[in-house]
């Protein structure tokens, strides 16, 4: 036991709730439960906050992506009520290429690279509401994402005309297209205004029930919007992943008008929410990893106990306790686990059916049919669009190559956000995919559209300055490609689990499932109920700190 001495023993040893993993949903739960007066122990096997939502330096990121099934040694004391836990990796097909190691070495301390990118938040997102409600907003500073573009295989990036002013200034749309698009936005706004006063029966319904149930893409056609604009709305504003035009093949992914309007509403309200924000999207300074940390800090203020580098090695079923890597046993009736924690195969075989039922959220599941998310990270010198640092680029389905099934989203972030050194940008890419190859093909295709092709290794050192023809495109310094498994959080009574990062741009689905889990765990207690001192601030639009 002497090698475990670095861990001081925990005191107290009994908690209302133990949470393992410090991802966004776990952190929200920890902050929520602590705020409502529960005693919470929040553990993370990693030496950093955020789990799969963390922002890391390049070496840390590389080692995290490559850490395969980091299973702690099986427990020594094999009494049959102890169930061994293993950490498995959510990542596959990890592929990391370094093109300029010296440059990276030189700036090694200045990278804060997201594991779950590309990710940004809408100003009107539920995650922002929660931050304001909980008070964790005081720990994070945001900056606006300057621009959104829709791209295609030609490499041309078209502005997403997402507001009145943007439509006015847009140079790519014809006057008639501007007119049609603005009319559509107005229709949506009128609809939203009328539906917010729904109790008024005299209010004229702008959109019929029938329309609301129809596929969104059909509704857009009915509004006589040209294909170009439809594509902008579907993928550049509503942020859809799946091809909406090919409704027969993928009918499970077809968005209804009602949902489409909700997504537009989120976008529209985001634009006008904070007076000092430029657009709908914003990004936290120092990376997405700041968000889980902010909730954790809030939780710590409210009395939550934090221990990092502390894996849970086993569950002790009869004692309602867990055994930590330090060997200490901690007691709690409720346990929330990170999505990567599973029951070790050895232990699994010896469980009774009833025990399996109790532990169901930790039983490894068949993952063959599941959707995955292919992600890419490029550290580039230069920018994909001149004079713009922070930008979102969306490649709608079929825009890169005919077989492209899902949209590829690309988020470029600059040194202004303190995520990379000056003159460089971090470029995040992702696409939802059925298998690793399909996803990586799409991501690579987007990379090759935006970035200068790699030069052979032997020419690498002196080619950069000479290659005049493609000098406007940025050059890649470092690249990572990986495919991440999607795990949904589950409520399982005593033992529950949280979600892995999903394929969306924002955290809405993750926050939603975290809020639901909180309700199930804590009864009907409202999340961050008593934290009202910040809501008044929110009305004035200054609740979230956004740097100009």
């Amino acid at each position: 036991m002497s090698d475990l001495l670095p861990y001081p023993p925990l005191d107290p040893t009994t908690y209302d709730l133990i949470i393992v993993g410090t991802g966004v949903p776990s952190s929200i739960l920890a902050a929520g439960a602590s705020s409502s007066g529960s005693s919470v122990l929040h553990l993370d096997p990693n030496p950093f906050y955020g789990s799969h939502f963390a922002s890391l330096s390049l070496p840390d990121l590389t080692s995290f992506l490559n850490s395969n099934s980091l299973s702690p040694p099986p427990s020594n004391t094999h009494d049959f009520l102890s169930v061994d836990l293993v950490n498995r990796s959510l990542y596959s097909s990890v592929e990391i290429s370094t093109f300029e190691p010296e440059t990276l070495e030189q700036h090694s301390r200045t990278f804060n690279i997201d594991l779950c990118g590309p990710r940004a938040v809408f100003c009107a997102d539920e995650s922002i509401n929660l931050m304001l409600k909980s008070g964790s907003n005081s720990y994070v500073e945001f900056k606006s994402v300057d621009a959104s573009f829709v791209g295609d295989s030609s490499g041309e990036l078209r502005n997403v005309p997402d507001s009145r002013g943007a439509i006015f200034k847009d140079k790519g749309l014809t006057l008639l297209e501007k007119n049609q698009l603005m009319k559509f936005f107005k229709l949506v706004q009128t609809h939203l205004a009328s539906s917010s006063t729904e109790h008024d029966e005299t209010a004229v319904k702008v959109m019929s029930e029938e329309d609301m149930e129809s596929p969104f893409v059909e509704f857009l056609s009915k509004m006589r919007l040209p294909q170009k604009i439809k594509s902008i709305i579907l993928y550049g504003i509503a942020m859809l992943d799946h091809d909406q035009d090919n409704t027969e093949e993928t009918c499970e992914h077809v968005l209804k008008t009602k949902e489409g309007i909700d997504r537009l509403a989120l976008y529209i309200t985001s634009i006008s929410r904070f007076s000092n924000a430029h657009g709908a999207l914003m990004y936290p300074m120092y990376g997405q990893g700041e968000l889980p940390q902010a909730f954790c800090r809030r939780a710590a203020v409210k009395g939550c106990v934090y221990v990092l580098r502390m894996p849970v090695t086993a569950l002790l079923l009869d004692k309602a306790s867990v055994r930590l890597a330090s060997g200490q046993e901690i007691f709690s009736q409720k346990l929330v686990m990170d999505p990567c924690v599973n029951i070790g195969l050895e232990s699994l075989s010896s469980l009774t059916d009833q025990q399996k039922e109790t532990l169901r959220v930790l039983v490894p599941k068949e993952t063959s049919s599941k959707e995955k998310i292919a992600r890419g990270i490029c550290i580039i010198r230069g920018s994909v669009k001149a004079e713009i640092s922070n930008a979102l680029v969306v490649f709608p389905p079929k825009s890169l190559f005919p077989e492209q099934l899902t949209a590829v989203r690309v988020l470029q972030l600059g040194s202004g956000l303190a995520v990379c050194p000056p003159d460089m940008h971090a470029l995040y890419l992702s696409t939802v995919c059925g298998d690793d190859n399909q996803g990586k093909t799409a991501v690579l295709s987007a990379i090759s559209t935006l970035i200068r092709p790699q030069v052979p290794e032997d020419l690498q050192t002196d080619s950069i300055a000479e290659n005049d023809t493609a000098v406007t495109k940025p050059v890649v310094i470092w690249r990572a490609l990986y495919v991440q498994e999607l795990v949904k959080g589950e409520f399982g009574g005593e033992i529950s689990s949280t979600s892995s990062p999903d394929g969306n741009l924002n955290y809405n689905e993750i926050v939603e499932s975290a809020m639901k889990l909180y309700e199930q765990l804590m009864g009907n207690k409202e999340l961050f109920k008593e934290e009202t001192e910040n809501t008044a601030e929110e009305d004035d639009g200054d609740g979230v700190e956004i740097e100009d």
Binding site: R164, G165, F168, K169, L175, K178, N179, M182
Partner: protein, 748 residues
């Protein structure tokens, strides 16, 4: 002591204005606020800018608008504790105010006293008296220190600081902005600061008109270039294209830059660019007014030329006119025949905009007709106005020397020497010369012609060849307007574009205006098609938008008249000869539901005009038709004789039919005037009739003014409320030469 001061000084308004800013809007509140302001401004008018008073009305509407809805920002309700705080503030202010007023009255300008006013103004920037007090205090200090630049700077900087903090309290305070101007006019400030301050205020509310006004002031003071300011409007419009203030400032700046032909600001290059800019605003949000206003301004810039032009004349260029002594009988084949008892004929000049300075020196006449050396040019316009579109001079053709049976060439040169200036101050530059021939006949017929003129029969269809009508054609505008190509192109592009804009009222209206503009500046051949489209558009608009019906109706009338006068073919369909009237030229525009008169410049030759069965409210425009002798206005919507005022200029008018109108139906609302009728104003010269029957003149003063100046032989007034025995007897007095009244021959 304190009570005394309260009674003397306007303390209440000051405290009141605090309440106003804190309480929810009620119109009466803001009304009394601005009233109190205007009272104060009058009290201290010696120091206050004169403009201040004229602003108060604008302020009234502005306040009520802003209190209700600050550019779309919802107003918050006030909580009880806030109201209590406001009451406490008012009480504190009252104390401050009374102390301050004591200082003011005793002319105490010590540091403590001035600091007190600072405190007062920082709480209530609306206290105009305090600003004036500070002005006095500054003057006092400045006079004491002579000319030590450092000290002057310190004093003025302090004033600027106080203004700035007052503006932070209320950036719509007139007093504060004015005080700042006053300080700057003292000549000491760093101007960079002013623009920075403005940027802040304009960020706060981009349409803050105080800031825009002040900006123009600072720009003028610092001689900042108009190009820089234009770029600033670029930015402001870019960030919010609904910013009407920015568009407006842009139009002002561009007007100036275009007028002085600044580098890169040629109309043919710049205006098409501006169309592109405003198109983006209009097409992005067609419900936003700002862009449309700017578009209208651009259209005006495209169509109208600054320099005044001669549009038409009578007699027209290369025409032949026949002149007779007296009202001659007999049949004439020539179109342009004129006879008059006075032995002179009118020479009419019609300009495209009101001009002044038409005189025998600016317009020279070269002819053998004697006695026309010093012609008197009169503007055909309202009394006392020295500018007009229409100018008339009377040329004598019967002088002491017999000159019958001769042809005289008359050469008229307009703008020979400079002096003809438009009301906007532009010179008539392109001098223009025209020549006509006057044939003076010697057949002197008996001058009295007492037969009744009937509008029903005795008319022959116009059979003259169109050649005759060509002589009537107006001067070709495009002669003078050398750079019309880009204008035509710009308008043609706009027309194509707005045809595509899906149905919206303003879109239709703009298309109609554009088509009208195109018709005005393009060749004759294509006009007809446009007019039909314009007429259809206005018909649609009348049906779509009933609240602006009359406007569309008027525009429809204008378009219809333009169409009628656009070609000789169109016009000849409406032209007749009146057999009973020496085959006079009669234009019949009856039953066209006209509500407004237009295109008069093309109808200067008309001697008989039938406008019956229309919807006219007024005869405005007809004053240019100097040859008109018979006018039929029956079955229209004339409501009073005042609406016929323009007829007073028609010296040839003998026959007038205003039967079946609405004259007398609505009495003129004299409560609007300070006196019951203009006659009670002693300045009006009394004549015989006025002194004979003062009561009737007072009752029918509007008829009196018109009929007195006319020389009518025949009048029809039946079918009006005013008609009756009393009125008839009055008419006989006022118009002694009348022979026919309501179809009956008068016994003389």
């Amino acid at each position: 002591m304190e009570l005394e001061i309260i009674n003397q000084t306007p303390i209440k308004p000051a405290a009141f204005s605090i309440n106003c800013t804190k309480q929810p809007l009620s119109l009466s509140l803001s009304l009394s606020l601005s009233l109190s302001l205007s009272l104060e401004s009058r009290c201290y008018v010696t120091l206050a800018d004169q403009k201040f008073e004229s602003h108060t009305l604008a302020y009234l509407t502005f306040v009520s608008y802003h209190r209700r809805n600050m550019h779309g920002r919802p107003r918050k309700a006030y909580k009880p504790e806030e109201e209590a705080a406001s009451a406490a503030k008012a009480a504190k202010l009252r104390g401050l105010q009374s102390q301050f007023m004591a200082n003011h009255h005793n002319k105490i300008y010590t540091k403590e006293a001035v600091d007190l006013s600072t405190k007062l103004l920082e709480i209530n920037p609306e206290a105009y008296t305090a600003w004036n007090y500070r002005k006095l205090a500054v003057e006092d200090k400045l006079s004491g220190i002579e000319s030590d630049p450092d000290l002057v700077k310190t004093i003025l900087d302090e004033e600027l600081r106080v203004v700035e903090s007052a503006l932070k309290q209320n950036f719509k305070s007139y007093g504060a902005w004015h005080h700042r101007k006053w300080v700057l006019s003292k000549g000491n400030s760093s101007v960079g600061n002013e623009l920075r301050l403005l940027d802040n205020f304009q960020k706060l509310d981009t349409r803050n008109f105080h800031a825009w006004n002040y900006r123009r002031f600072v720009v003028e003071l610092t001689k900042r270039s108009e190009q820089d300011e234009l770029e600033y409007t670029d930015d402001m419009i870019g960030s919010d294209f609904s910013n009407y203030s920015a568009w407006h400032n842009r139009s002002v700046l561009l007007s100036s830059l275009l007028a002085r032909k600044a580098d890169g600001f040629l109309p043919n290059k710049k205006i098409p660019d501006e169309y592109k800019l405003v198109q983006n605003a209009i097409f992005t949000d067609e419900d936003d007014q700002s862009g449309w206003f700017y578009h209208l301004w651009l259209l005006d810039q495209t169509v109208n030329v600054e320099t005044p032009l001669l549009t038409s004349s009578w007699p027209s260029h290369s025409s032949r006119i026949s002149l007779y002594a007296g009202c001659s009988k007999g049949s004439f084949s020539k179109l342009t025949t004129f006879g008059s008892e006075s032995g002179s004929f009118p020479l009419v000049l019609y300009f495209d905009q009101a001009v002044g300075g038409v005189s025998s020196s600016t317009v020279t006449i070269d002819s053998e007709l004697k006695g026309n050396e010093d012609l008197v040019w009169e503007p055909v316009s309202k009394k006392n106005s020295q500018v007009s579109c229409v100018w008339v001079a009377r040329l004598k053709y019967i002088s002491s020397e017999p000159c019958f049976g001769k042809e005289y060439k008359v050469k008229v040169r307009v703008g020979n020497s400079p002096g003809i200036v438009s009301s906007r101050g532009c010179n008539f530059s392109a001098s223009y010369e025209f020549v006509f021939t006057a044939h003076v006949h010697d057949t002197v017929e008996e001058s009295s012609q007492d037969g009744i003129v009937s509008w029903k029969d005795g008319f022959d269809i116009w059979d003259a060849e169109s050649k005759d009508l060509n002589a009537l054609a107006t001067l070709d505008r495009s002669n003078a307007q050398m750079d019309s190509k880009w204008r035509q192109e710009a308008i043609a592009e706009e027309i194509d574009l707005f045809r595509e804009l899906p149905d919206s009222k303003i879109g239709k209206l703009t298309l109609a205006r554009l088509l009208m503009a195109k018709a005005m500046i393009s060749d004759d051949a294509v006009k007809g098609v446009h007019y039909n489209e314009i007429l259809e558009l206005y018909k649609d608009l009348m049906a779509l938008d009933s609240s602006h019906y009359q406007y569309y109706k008027d525009e429809h009338s204008v378009a219809l008249l333009r169409k009628v006068t656009s070609s000789t073919e169109d016009l000849s369909g409406h032209l007749f000869r009146c057999r009973n009237m020496n085959n006079s030229v009669c234009l019949r525009l009856n039953n066209l539901s006209l509500s407004r008169i237009a295109s008069v410049e093309k109808l200067l030759f008309v001697q008989m005009l039938d406008l019956s069965h229309n919807e006219l409210h007024s005869t405005e425009g007809l004053e240019a038709m100097q040859l008109l002798s018979c006018l039929n206005l029956s079955h229209n919507r004339i409501r009073s004789f005042s609406s016929l005022d323009s007829l007073r200029h028609l010296k040839q008018l003998r026959v007038l039919d205003v039967s079946h109108n609405h004259i007398g139906e609505h009495s003129v609302d004299t409560t609007r005037y300070l006196c019951s009728s203009p006659l009670s104003n002693s300045e009006w010269p009394q004549d015989e009739v006025g002194s004979q029957m003062p009561s009737l003149v007072t009752k029918y003063w509007d008829a009196y003014f018109v009929l007195r100046d006319l020389n009518l032989k025949q009048l029809d007034i039946t079918g009006n409320v005013i008609a009756g025995d009393e009125f008839s007897s009055f008419v006989l007095q006022v118009a002694p030469k009348l022979v026919w009244l309501d179809g009956k021959k008068l016994e003389i």
